[in-house]
Amino acid sequence: MAQAADPERGKALYESRCSGCHSLDQDRVGPRHRGVVGRKAGSVAGFEYSAALRASRVVWSAKTLDAWLANPERLIPGQRMNYSVPDDADRAALIAYLTQPAAAAR
C-alpha cells in the first residue's frame, strides 16, 4: 500500500523546484499558487498567461495537477512552463503541499 504523500516534504520540494518562478502569494515569472486547487487554469487575475492556458478548460485538482506536473505540454499544448516533475512520489508530495489548508485560498 502506498504511503500518504507528505506535505512537509512537498513544501521542501516546492522550495527547491518551484520557488525559482513561483510563490504562494505573488505573481512572479509564474502565477501565484495559493488556492490553486479548484481554480480554473489560466485564471489568476492580472497574470499574463500563454494563449494556451487562457483557452484551457482545465480545472486544477489533484488529478489534473499530477498530469500537468508530469508533462505540462501533453496536458495543455502550447503552455510556457516546460518544467516537469518526473517522479510520482515527488508530484504527490507537491500536490499534498498545495492542497493543505496552509496553501489554500484565504
Binding site: S16, R17, S19, G20, C21, S23, Q26, D27, R28, V29, S50, E73, R80, M81, N82, Y83, S84
Partner: protein, 189 residues
C-alpha cells in the same frame, strides 16, 4: 554577523565583458530568422521564462545595492553577480531575437520590490538570504527545463546559465555560513 573570512570569500577575482558573454552563449545557435517553427517557438518560450528570471535577479541585486545595507566586499560581489545576470539577460535577448521571438520585457523595479517582499529586508543577511534563494531557484529552473529544449545548443545554454547561478549560490552560502549539500546530485532534483 558575517565575519571577514566569509566576506573575503566573495571578493571578486574576475571580470568579463557582456558582449563576450552574449557572443559565447549564442555562438552555437545556428542562424535562423523569422520563420520560427513550432519547436523553435517552444524554445523561445523557455528562453523567455529564463529572461524573466534574469530580469528579477538583476532587480533584486539592484534593490540590495541601493539599500545601503551591503558592506564591502559583499557589495562588490553583489555588483559582480548582477553583472553576470545582465550578461545572461543580454545573451538571452540576443538569442530570442535571433530565433525570431520577442523578448519578455523588464517590469518596473517597484514591481519586483513588491513581489520579492523587499519591504521586509532589514539587514545584509536578509539580502543575502533572498539572493541565495533566487539563485538556487534559478539554477534548479534552468536544470529542469533542459530536457524540454528542441535545440541541443539551447539546452547547453541553460546548463551554462545554471552553472553561473550555482556558483553564485555557493558563494552566498559560504558567506551565510551554510553547510554545503551533503548528498550528491542535489541541484536540479
Amino acid at each position: 554577523m558575517l565575519n571577514h573570512k566569509r566576506r573575503s570569500f566573495l571578493t571578486a577575482s574576475a571580470t568579463t565583458t557582456l558582449s563576450a558573454a552574449a557572443f559565447g552563449l549564442i555562438a552555437g545557435v545556428p542562424g535562423r530568422g523569422l520563420a520560427m517553427g513550432m519547436n523553435g517557438a517552444r524554445d523561445v518560450d523557455i528562453l523567455n521564462v529564463a529572461l524573466g528570471l534574469e530580469h528579477e535577479a538583476i532587480n533584486a541585486y539592484q534593490l540590495g545595492a541601493q539599500s545601503g545595507l551591503l558592506q564591502k566586499p559583499v557589495l562588490d560581489a553583489a555588483v559582480l553577480f548582477q553583472s553576470h545576470h545582465k550578461g545572461h539577460r543580454d545573451a538571452l535577448i540576443a538569442t530570442i531575437e535571433k530565433l525570431g521571438g520577442r523578448p519578455a520585457a523588464e517590469k518596473p523595479m517597484a514591481e519586483y520590490a513588491r513581489t520579492l517582499n523587499a519591504a521586509t529586508i532589514k539587514s545584509q543577511e536578509d539580502i543575502l538570504n533572498l539572493a541565495a534563494r533566487l539563485e538556487l531557484g534559478a539554477s534548479n529552473a534552468y536544470l529542469g527545463v533542459i530536457p524540454s529544449f528542441q535545440d541541443a545548443n539551447l539546452a547547453k545554454v541553460a546548463a551554462r546559465l545554471a552553472a553561473d547561478e550555482t556558483m553564485h549560490w555557493t558563494a552566498l552560502s559560504g558567506v551565510l555560513g551554510r553547510q554545503l549539500p551533503g548528498a550528491p546530485l542535489s541541484f536540479g532534483a
